[in-house]
Amino acid sequence: MIAFYFIALLTLASALLVVLHRNPIYSALGLVNTLFLIAVSFVMLDAELIAMLQVIVYAGAIVILFLFVIMLLNVESEVRSARISKIGTAGLAFVLLFAVELAVFALVRDPSGAQELPAGFGSTELLAETLFSKGMLSFELTSLLLLVAVVGAVVMARRKVES
């Protein structure tokens, strides 16, 4: 339990780093850290495969892409305005709301919600089985989602079409 809170706090801290740091490179590195710590949480939840995928896909591939983009574009450090904008205030309010909600969930723990883990939980085999039986539609729909995202990204990123 203490380990969980420790990891959770660290995750939160690095997530804050991502948002708050002025230098985009540091932000990206903070993101790697966050994602990695989430992977650690997965391990603690007996979901080793997900943890591995988390590290490989997010920390390994996606953030590296981010870093490439940052370097290619040669982004300068952001000049931050001093005062907190309206959106910042709204965001802060939401954060507080969530904090309260989380605290309530954490304090008022209801044992009936917790369930026994089935045998082989978190194994590659079980995940595969779920994906191809119960989750088959979701799995396929995810591919459709990716297609839409790719098409969308191309449309938005393309230079203006000449007539």
Partner: protein, 483 residues
């Protein structure tokens, strides 16, 4: 042992979806090899084939009580109705697109497949019986919609609309996922039936927390007050044919997703969420209508009016009965015809370089383009809820469901709201018929496809107003069959 289930039921469930998605892909590939860009209307035809194919497949294959993929998805009456409404909305917005896109200088031909993909997301939402599937449907639809909103890339407003829509949409997605996670944590499942079964012994606190987050997330998607702030700017900034799709198709899919989740999966908690949704509905319709009164831009007025209509729809969900669900479905059909029609009129008045979206631009329209003005009168009256047009029957059915469930005050608030709405709908009629044109009367001939769109919308608005029986019965029975 891995047991892969893909039999007749599964094939039946996804066929309409496949028709639409495959058409979208063919259309994308076609554009890769197509060199001839002379006729802007050409890609429309292929997309329309997909739309019609999707509707035909839906009509041929639906079946009440159907369920596939371990109960995560279904092509039952509700999703069949949703499919038809969403495909109709997509089809009508495709019809109004070619001439309009050319006139504002958008040449991105990905527009057409993207509309199809957005429609496929809506179809997924209509049939979803599992939170994960619902989430994926929302995302497929939304991502396509973000891009569509920003497809007019040289226009600052369009870009702003897309960005705003994207950021707030991403925000809503966060809420949605968080809600799903909490609900999953409380009930141990994401399937609707399993959630309904597990609710009685689940931790009430966790469940309510999850439901609250889901309400917020879906509230964003249906543009319910106080989660509506994106809607007017996005509706105004996006190209009008996209706005029509957003105001009708996306709203329809989101409302059906909302209705199915709350009326089916969360039925045991009706007492708990009804009050929250009650307030949401009342706020949404009142704020929507009152703000619409103050608008001077027709597109913006229609945006606020669509917020108000979301309130009416939510009010029927409050009833929590199959009757309420049926009313929602029928109203969506009604809303599709009358609202798409209104946007088609807005498009038909735009000319190269000027949008003509202010109320003043409509002054004296009756003398310049009598037929279009008459069509607009029909749509406005139907939106107000004047018999014998379809909007009246739809509203009547909503109120009936609300009254029957015992929410008399909600019904009273709703009808008073529709009296407020009469003011701004009439104001447009007033501009068209009782003011003299401000500028020189230069009438532009609307494109043939746009005329087809207007004609379809007009016929639908009148025909289903006088003979609403078939869709009414269908909508009611399909929700009854869910129980």
């Amino acid at each position: 042992m891995i047991e892969v289930v893909f039999g007749g039921a599964e094939l039946r469930a996804v066929t309409p979806l496949l028709v639409v998605v495959v058409t979208a892909m063919i259309s994308l590939l076609y554009e890769v090899f197509n060199e001839d860009h002379s006729d802007p209307a050409r890609p429309v035809w292929l997309s329309l084939v997909g739309i019609v194919g999707g509707i035909v497949a839906t009509v041929a294959l639906w079946e009440n009580g159907h369920s596939a993929f371990h109960g995560t998805f279904a092509l039952d009456g509700v999703s069949a109705f949703t499919n038809v409404v969403c495909l109709l909305a997509a089809g009508l917005s495709l019809l109004m697109a070619p001439g309009y896109l050319t006139s504002i200088g958008v040449r991105a031909r990905e527009f057409y497949p993207l509309v199809l993909l957005a429609a496929s997301g809506m179809m997924v939402m209509g049939g979803a019986r599992d939170l994960i599937v619902l989430f994926l449907g929302i995302e497929i639809m939304s991502i396509a919609a973000y891009v569509l909103a920003g497809i007019h890339r040289t226009d600052v407003k369009s870009g702003e609309a897309a960005l705003k829509y994207f950021l707030l949409g991403a925000f809503a997605t966060g809420f949605l996922l968080y809600g799903i996670a909490i609900l999953y944590g409380a009930t141990g499942s994401t399937g609707y039936d399993a959630i309904a079964a597990a609710l009685p012994k689940a931790s009430k606190l966790l469940v309510l927390g999850g439901v609250a987050l889901l309400i917020v997330a879906l509230g964003f998607k249906v543009s319910a007050v106080p989660f509506h702030f994106w809607a007017p700017d996005v509706y105004q900034g996006a190209p009008t044919s996209v706005t029509a799709l957003m105001a009708v198709g996306i709203k329809a899919a989101a409302v059906v997703g909302f209705a199915r989740l709350f009326i089916v999966a969360l039925a045991p908690l009706h007492q708990d969420w009804a009050m929250v949704v009650w307030w949401l509905a009342v706020l949404t319709m009142t704020v929507g209508n009152v703000t619409a009164v103050a608008q001077n831009n027709v597109k913006r007025m229609l945006a606020y009016s669509s917020i108000a209509h979301a309130g009416y729809l939510l009010a029927a969900i409050v009833a929590g009965t199959p009757r309420g669900g049926g009313a929602v479905l029928f109203y969506l059909l009604a809303y599709t015809f009358m609202n798409v029609g209104a946007f088609a009129v807005v498009i038909s008045l735009g000319r190269k370089g000027e949008a003509n979206e202010q109320f003043d631009d409509y002054a004296g329209l009756a003398s310049r383009q009598p037929l279009i003005a008459a069509a607009m009168v029909l749509f406005m009256l139907s939106l107000t809820g004047i018999p014998p047009l379809v909007g009246f029957v739809g509203k009547l059915y909503l109120i009936e469901a609300i009254v029957q469930a015992g929410y008399i005050w909600l019904a009273v608030i709703m009808v008073l709201n529709s009296a407020i709405s009469a003011y701004y709908y009439l104001r447009l009629i007033f501009e068209m018929y009782m003011r003299d044109p401000a500028g020189p009367a230069s009438a532009m001939e609307p494109a043939p496809l746009l005329i087809a769109c207007l004609l379809l919308a007009t016929v639908g608005t009148i025909f289903f107003g006088i003979f609403p029986d078939a869709p009414l019965d269908f909508a009611r029975n399909s929700f009854l069959a869910l129980r």
